[in-house]
Amino acid sequence: MNCTEIQNWLLSADDRELARADHTAQSTVDQHLAGCYDCRQVADDLRQLEAQWRSLPLPPEASAAKTRFLMRLADQQLLPIAARVAASDVNSSGRVRVRSQPLAGGLRWALAASLLLACGGLIYQFGPSSEAQAAPDVVQRMIDWHLELSAADADQRQEIFDQRAIQFTQALDEDQLPADDAELGRKLLDEAQWLVKNVDPLAEASHFSKLADRMLGRLSQESAQKHAGKLAKVAREYSKAEDAVRENLHKLELDGKVVDARLEPIHDRQLRRKSALTVLVDSMPSSSQKAVKAALDPTAKPIHKGGKHRNRDKRELPI
């Protein structure tokens, strides 16, 4: 075989076919390559070319695209129509209602895992340890404090801050809080100061969106403990944060200050949390589901007057 024939053979074959080829052909090619720099170079270039192609990274959009697909799947928008119609039933008023088809266990858990992963870094970053979940009272009170600050007019915020700040600082120093709670508490203290100085519904919506992420992370960790009471408590905190996001977005609309590009990440987070929450709640035992759904039920919450937050438990912040 001459160089042209060898190079043509190399371009037509590859390593696996080389291995399968009869020993005579392989031996002929090997012998030629050993003594021919040009053909050896072609063989090396080919190997490099293909190795390089295999090593090209996936486009960065691929992961987000998968997350979006899984979220749509979780919303059951993508399940076969026939399956959804088969799951329809007739409600008490006689109207046909297409019920969400219960997801099979494996799929439900896999989706829950995927979606919580998709909700991502924040949940992981702020998710508490099991120790931290045991004594969240100070944190809960501080969240109420944040809601109160955000609902207040600019000139009232400093006073609200001053009323509580020292007590919270002491509580954080004195209480035997788990490390995660203490860290979150200190963060909330700093952010409360920020809320006093920055009356900006968009930034506040973003702040509460991050808080909702944290609470959802806490809820997902609590769900493993299967303690309905604790779950309901965390779900209430989560719900408060979500309400605060919505109310701040509503303020923006009222002020006519809607900035689409800056709203997009907040809406995106809301949607992700909604999907993740649906899957998470569906995956809970029925007793926990009941408690969590009751905590999340908006009809069970006190009505807000004039868009202001009120203490949901109808009691003063217990400091």
């Binding site: 043509n8 390089q52 486009p59 959009e61 691929a62 998968k66 979006r68 697909f69 799929l107």
Partner: protein
Amino acid sequence: MLANGDGNANESDRDSPDASSNSTTNFAELVEQHWSAVYRLLYNLCGSAHDTEDLTQETFLRALNRLDSFQPGTKMRAWLLRIATNAWFDVRRKRQRVTMQALDVEPSEAEQSVEERLATAEQAALLRMAMQDLPDVTRMVFHLRVTEELSFAEIGEMAGVSEEAARWHMHQARTRLLRRMTKESVKRGP
């Protein structure tokens, strides 16, 4: 063989019981395992992240609706890739040609110096550009052979050509890519 669900050849997925189940029980797992490979193939065919996302979703939707038709004893990855190429051919037929957009240069995640990263990214961009200049079927054959390590018979079936034609396309792809990359390398100097 790689079995990491990251787009490279995966022989271990042959007829996994979960994946071949008629239920959707492990469909999310199937998405997790094969999303990258399907996305990578379609991205190389479309060149646009937007079109790729649509087609990848379409692929998995078709798979979800046709899980019954998956034949035990065959490779789940190859089955999905076949659905993906069919979906792409369908779109191409409708649009004549899926819009090709310039591909982004993506930095390698490996730990490299700035110079190395630039060189790698540049090389990757050149290779992608060279690939984009190949005819659609030639590009598809090269990708499926190199990345998924499918047989020419399987590739031919996916690409809608004979096994021999698939080999010819591979020969064409290698010849043209090699020539192009060598030329670029000479142009850029040592």
